[in-house]
């Protein structure tokens, strides 16, 4: 039986501490799997790349690939950039800030093997999953956004804006080519386009602990961005 290789793409910007923690946890939880971690750093001023180079000495350069970029560019392009250097049959995308815990990686892989799905996406909104660190307002906007999306967009997944996902490499390459949005709407467009193209998508519950180090914001502009994104997706997909 041929062994599958998993390429994990992690975009980073000023994640000096978090990236080291994430890498440690990935190695801890993926011991029986063949994988590589591709870190796409956008020239972080806090020395993230220095830490990554030290991690490379520790874990090996075949396991940790540093594919940096000259300046802060978008998330979507970060995935494209990482994808060019991915040698696995599967690509996993995740955040560097520990909101996505590497302990769920085996469940993504297992789900894909069981169902032969093209995409496995993590969902925070089902039993077994969950969120910690959100106040009532944040939960309200999240739930409101979700109901809007389910009512008008019929996306086929319960968590539209999540970015903890496993793709078959060929599927990611196919879908990412047709996506034009930026920011987190990019994640929405990815999964909706994949759903429209008829790809088999499965979900696994994940828990999401909001940013342990650093801050994450949700303001009026993000809400407007979301609504614009939703309208765009209704008309364009």
């Amino acid at each position: 039986m041929e062994k599958n290789m998993y390429s994990i793409i992690i975009p980073t910007y000023n994640e000096r501490l978090n990236i080291a923690l994430v890498v440690y946890l990935v190695f801890k939880h993926l011991r029986e799997f063949d994988f590589e971690i591709i870190i796409v750093d956008d020239s972080s001023p806090d020395g993230t790349q220095d830490i990554v180079k030290q991690l490379q000495l520790l874990y090996g350069e075949e396991r940790i690939l540093l594919r940096a970029r000259k300046k802060k560019l978008g998330l979507g392009t970060a995935y494209c950039h990482g994808l060019k250097h991915a040698s696995g049959d599967f690509v996993i995308i995740m955040d560097a800030d520990l909101s996505h815990h590497p302990k769920y990686l085996p469940s993504f892989i297992r789900k894909q093997k069981e169902t032969e799905a093209s995409i496995v996406t993590g969902t925070r909104y089902v039993r077994g999953g969950g969120v910690h660190g959100w106040n009532l307002m944040r939960k309200l906007t999240s739930r409101g956004a979700n109901v809007l999306a389910q009512t008008f967009l019929w996306p086929g997944v319960s968590d539209l804006t999540g970015s903890f996902r496993l793709y078959k490499k060929s599927v990611l390459e196919d879908v990412i080519g047709s996506v034009v949005s930026k920011g987190y709407v990019f994640q929405m467009e990815m999964i909706v386009r994949a759903s429209r193209k008829g790809y088999h998508i499965e979900e696994v519950p994940i828990t999401f602990v909001d940013r342990v180090y650093g801050t994450s914001k949700l303001g009026g502009s993000e809400i407007v961005e979301y609504l614009k994104g939703l309208i765009y997706l209704i008309f364009a997909t």
Binding site: R16, Y24, Y125, V131, T151, L153, F235
Partner: protein, 89 residues
């Protein structure tokens, strides 16, 4: 087919049923004219209901924060032993 077309298809079907009801006079005329309004109000109520239910049963995981802190401590320990200085502020 684009999603917007699916939605239009649904709206056209509903409109056809509505016009049919008006023509056939199964329902009284004044009531029938207001059906679209009732439908929209129903949709709004459904939406609010779903938001409320979702909020009530929003899955949370307070224990995860605690587990994460343990993982972070374990990771930091390891990094210290390996001489990787992350200068956590």
């Amino acid at each position: 087919m684009k999603h917007i077309l699916k939605i239009l298809e649904l709206l056209v079907t509903i409109s056809a049923i509505w016009i049919g009801l008006l023509q056939a006079s199964i329902v009284s005329s004044s009531y029938a004219w207001l059906l679209p309004v009732y439908l929209i109000i129903l949709l709004g109520c459904y939406g609010l209901f779903m938001v409320g239910v979702g909020l009530m049963f929003f899955p949370t995981c307070p224990q995860e924060s605690h587990l994460l802190q343990k993982d972070i401590a374990e990771a930091k320990d390891f990094l210290k032993r390996e001489g990787i200085d992350v200068n956590s502020d």
